[in-house]
């Protein structure tokens, strides 16, 4: 670090310490270290400072100071994001909302909860279970990730097809603008007059403002949930069976698919009783009233049989249901055991393209000489290929990135998108030009400027500048050479 950088850091820390508890203004390298990355640890950067304010007034003061001085602000929740969206900026501060961890109010009759942004996703459902209610979106990181981060990423989970994403499950947010002004977007009603700013803020990856409170909708906990596991010896059959369920008029609470690689890894790890010889496995959860679940489970079983399922097992009790899910929920770490590192991708495709996409990926796997396992939110078309690699082998991460990029390009080619739920962050920013044209990206930049004209909020993430676009397009014309 240069001396002037160090001076700048110390001078700034002194100013923050005039209004934030000095213990919560972190300026030493050692204590800042854990903030250098989020869940996407391949991308790291040390910030100028980390501040952890405790009140909304302090957040406003932080924003005012940074706005005046032209300092970049990167807001951070639990740091579980998978696109380096919370990676610090070298000349900016990290604004951690970790101390905003209070459930402000639960209204069981209106079925809402007012939350500070640092409340953990799972804590909402745990706290509201006493009223027979829960919060719908359940990203895999729900034990740790926060509701503020969920808003920033429009987080999903395994129940999206039926219960929607974050954008469908929140009523309002309190946001601090770049100028330090406090605004409330949305209301206790289901809609508000004017443009839908709530939708615009949701999924904006911290580029438009800093969320300081969220009001979420709560759902009545279904009377019953039951899961059918079906093994198939052919991926195409499994894919067709997913379509068959939908065509039957059933919207499952969760509908997940795993390929052979993921099945074996998950079974070795969780001993859930998955058929290790299967080419594809479906987990279909039906929830609702006791009568509805019985009706739909019977329909699903017979439908899977008609699509050629080679094995079928239906949970008979809550323990068995939890066990069947355990394999799926531990699929990422399970696959991780097969390899020193893995890289989780996140494209969405039209479901009908699944077999084609998996086949293409198999070819790429050979071409890039990297193994890939697939976990798929089959209900909503969100594909998570896990590329296995070893970061200690020179050039292997670069090859992994290139493989990942080729997968995202394929997703766009078949009518899908580059990210279903993990966000763009830094990780996928160069692929924005694959999904969007220059005019759309220019419009996105104009939206950004409406909130943050100088580009101080989470700079370098989410939406490429027009200059970056030109660079990325030039790269697209010269694809990275894969070394055999």
């Amino acid at each position: 670090m240069t001396q002037s950088h160090s001076h700048k850091r110390d001078a700034l820390a002194r100013r923050f310490r005039t209004f934030i508890d000095p213990d919560f203004v972190i300026a030493d390298e050692e204590t800042m270290k854990p903030y250098e990355c989020d869940g996407m640890s391949m991308f790291c950067e040390m910030p100028l400072l980390v501040v952890l304010p405790e009140t909304v007034a302090q957040v406003q003061e932080v924003m005012r100071l940074c706005h005046r001085e032209g300092i970049a602000v990167v807001a951070r929740g639990a740091g579980t994001g998978l696109s380096a969206g919370a990676m610090p900026h070298a000349d900016g501060i990290v604004l951690s909302l970790a101390r905003f961890n209070r459930i402000v109010h639960i209204d069981p009759l209106a079925r809402t909860a007012r939350l500070q942004p640092g409340v953990r996703n799972l804590a909402i459902s745990e706290e509201t279970a006493q009223y027979g209610l829960y919060y719908g979106p359940d990203p895999s990181s729900q034990i740790a990730c926060t509701i503020g981060g969920n808003v920033g990423n429009n987080s999903g989970g395994v129940h999206c097809l039926k219960y929607g994403l974050t954008v469908h499950n929140i009523l309002s947010v309190e946001m601090i603008t770049i100028e330090g002004e406090r605004v409330v977007i949305g209301s206790d009603g289901l809609d508000s007059c004017g443009m839908d700013l709530l939708a615009l803020i949701t999924g904006s990856e911290g580029l438009l403002g800093v969320i300081t409170e969220v009001k979420v909708k709560l759902l009545p906990k279904p009377e019953k949930a039951q899961v059918v596991m079906a093994g198939f010896d052919d991926i195409q059959n499994a894919g067709d069976a997913v379509g068959g369920i939908i065509a039957q008029g059933i919207i499952p609470g969760g509908l997940e698919m795993m390929d052979s690689y993921a099945i074996i890894a998950a079974e070795d790890f969780a001993h859930a009783g998955y058929p290790k010889e299967a080419a594809a496995l479906l987990l279909c959860e039906v929830d609702g009233t006791a009568e509805e679940v019985q009706e739909h489970i019977e329909a699903a079983e017979s439908l899977f049989r008609s699509f050629g399922a080679t094995s079928i097992r239906t949970s008979k009790n809550e323990n068995e249901r939890a066990l069947l899910w355990k394999g799926r929920k531990s699929a990422f770490p399970a696959v991780g055991r097969l390899s020193p590192d893995y890289y989780c991708m996140d494209g969405t495709i039209p479901r009908g393209q699944l077999a084609h996409v998996l086949l293409e990926m198999e070819k790429m796997s050979k071409e890039y000489q990297l193994r890939v396992a697939n976990v798929f939110h089959a209900g909503d078309g969100n594909l998570h290929p896990l590329i296995l690699f070893d970061a200690n082998v020179p050039g292997e991460f670069e090859r992994t990135e290139a493989f990942g990029g080729a997968i995202l390009t394929l997703c766009v080619e078949v009518g899908g998108c580059i990210t279903g739920e993990h966000g763009v962050g830094i990780e996928k920013i160069r692929y924005m030009t694959t999904q969007f044209g220059d005019l759309e990206l220019a419009q996105f930049n104009a939206i950004k400027a409406a909130f943050d004209a100088d580009g101080r909020l989470n700079p370098g993430k989410g939406v490429p500048t027009l200059r970056q676009c030109q660079e990325y397009r030039a790269l697209e014309r010269k694809p990275a050479k894969v070394e055999a």
């Binding site: 994403l165 009603g189 007059c193 009545p220 009233t289 019985q294 969405t348 479901r351 899908g416 419009q443």
Partner: protein, 360 residues
């Protein structure tokens, strides 16, 4: 079925060149909404012939249509595959289109349970004020790349541009539907509806009108029957199928007697459990208390006070003097953000000047 994109872009270009304002219209079924302005009937950007299904994949639950496509036509296409627009878009007059439905954010009685048009939009195409034809979102359920410029249009009433194409998530029709009614005073009905909504039952409508509560159940036949039976035991009566279908359709399209006549119609979007304000005119409560309709001559400022107290907002939906603002006022900071967004999409302020707000 016709693609009018080239004509529409040309017309926007001409308007830019001439410094002309443009009023976006479809079938005109929602012409009564928004403000009355001097330029309101000047030049029209007409999308009603820009129609047709672009793509429909029943198994994907995704439909893409041109913005001028009438809702009735969409219903017919979806019905062939036993699917529907789950948000039950209202038809205030014949020909109502999907583009207008999104721009005005109009959803029917099932909205708290079966979602809104805003919720089900997956992507759009839009001509902005620079005559650029842009594509946002996509045709898949999960897509978090870029800002959600598609849902941003819901309620913007065309101020950001002309929506030319809409991709939507569609859903299977429920296998069974039953309506239960019971007599109940308004003050009791509001908490009661919410208690019902807090139970894990297949509720898909909760409305109160003229001393009667109407609860609709939709879903698997076994679930609907069992719940109806249980609630009958607790004092509700089953409405016959024809009356049931008619009631929810007339509620959706504002054809009930409550909506007739010239008295101004106010729409409150508020916290569902809030006690109802004490006013002299009649009320209709929908969305289990989250959407409330009121008829009467009142001052906008008084109504705003009541709506704010109930955690929400009010709009002067139909009738009355419409030269002032008819939508709930925006705090200064939100007003400024929306003006900047307007400028970002429509720098020459071509589209629907003053229709949404006097300052927009």
């Amino acid at each position: 079925m016709s693609d009018q994109t080239a004509r529409l872009i040309e017309q926007v270009n001409a308007a830019i060149a001439d410094g002309q304002k443009l009023n976006i219209t479809g079938a005109g079924s929602k012409a009564f909404m928004g403000r009355e302005t001097d330029t309101r009937h000047a030049a029209v950007l007409d999308l009603k012939d820009h129609t047709g299904v672009v793509n429909y994949q029943p198994v994907e639950l995704v439909l893409t249509v041109r913005a001028g496509t009438p809702l009735d036509e969409i219903d017919a296409v979806l019905a062939e595959h036993n699917q529907m627009l789950s948000f039950e878009p209202p038809r205030y007059a014949a020909g109502a289109t999907i583009g207008g439905t999104l721009a005005c954010n109009q959803s029917g009685p099932g909205r708290p349970w079966t979602s809104s048009v805003r919720d089900q939009v997956l992507g759009i195409k839009l001509i902005n004020g620079k005559a650029e034809h842009l594509r946002f979102g996509g045709q898949v359920m999960k897509n978090v790349a870029g800002y959600d410029a598609s849902r941003l249009q819901a309620g913007a009433m065309g101020t950001l541009g002309a929506i030319t194409e809409v991709s939507l998530k569609v859903l299977p029709r429920p296998a069974a539907t039953t309506t239960l009614t019971q007599a109940m005073p308004l003050a009791d009905a509001i908490p009661f509806m919410n208690q019902r909504a807090a139970q894990p039952k297949p509720l898909s409508g909760a409305c109160w009108l003229d001393g009667s509560l109407y609860l609709r159940l939709s879903g698997a036949a076994s679930a609907v029957d069992a719940t109806a039976h249980q609630w009958q035991q607790q004092g509700a009566q089953v409405l016959d199928a024809d009356s049931s279908a008619r009631f929810w359709q007339q509620l959706r399209d504002h054809q009930l007697d409550f909506f007739a006549g010239d008295a101004p119609l106010w729409r409150f979007s508020v916290g569902p459990t809030e006690p109802n304000p004490d006013l002299s005119g009649p009320w209709l409560i929908d969305w289990a208390g989250a959407q409330r309709w009121y008829r009467g001559d009142e001052a906008m400022s008084d109504m705003e006070r009541l709506a704010t107290r109930a955690g929400g907002q009010v709009s002067q939906f139909r009738g009355g003097d419409r030269h002032g603002d008819v939508m709930h006022h925006q705090p200064a900071a939100l007003r400024q953000l929306q003006q900047r967004l307007k400028h970002a999409f429509d720098p020459n302020a071509l589209f629907n000047p003053g229709r949404l707000y006097s300052w927009m």
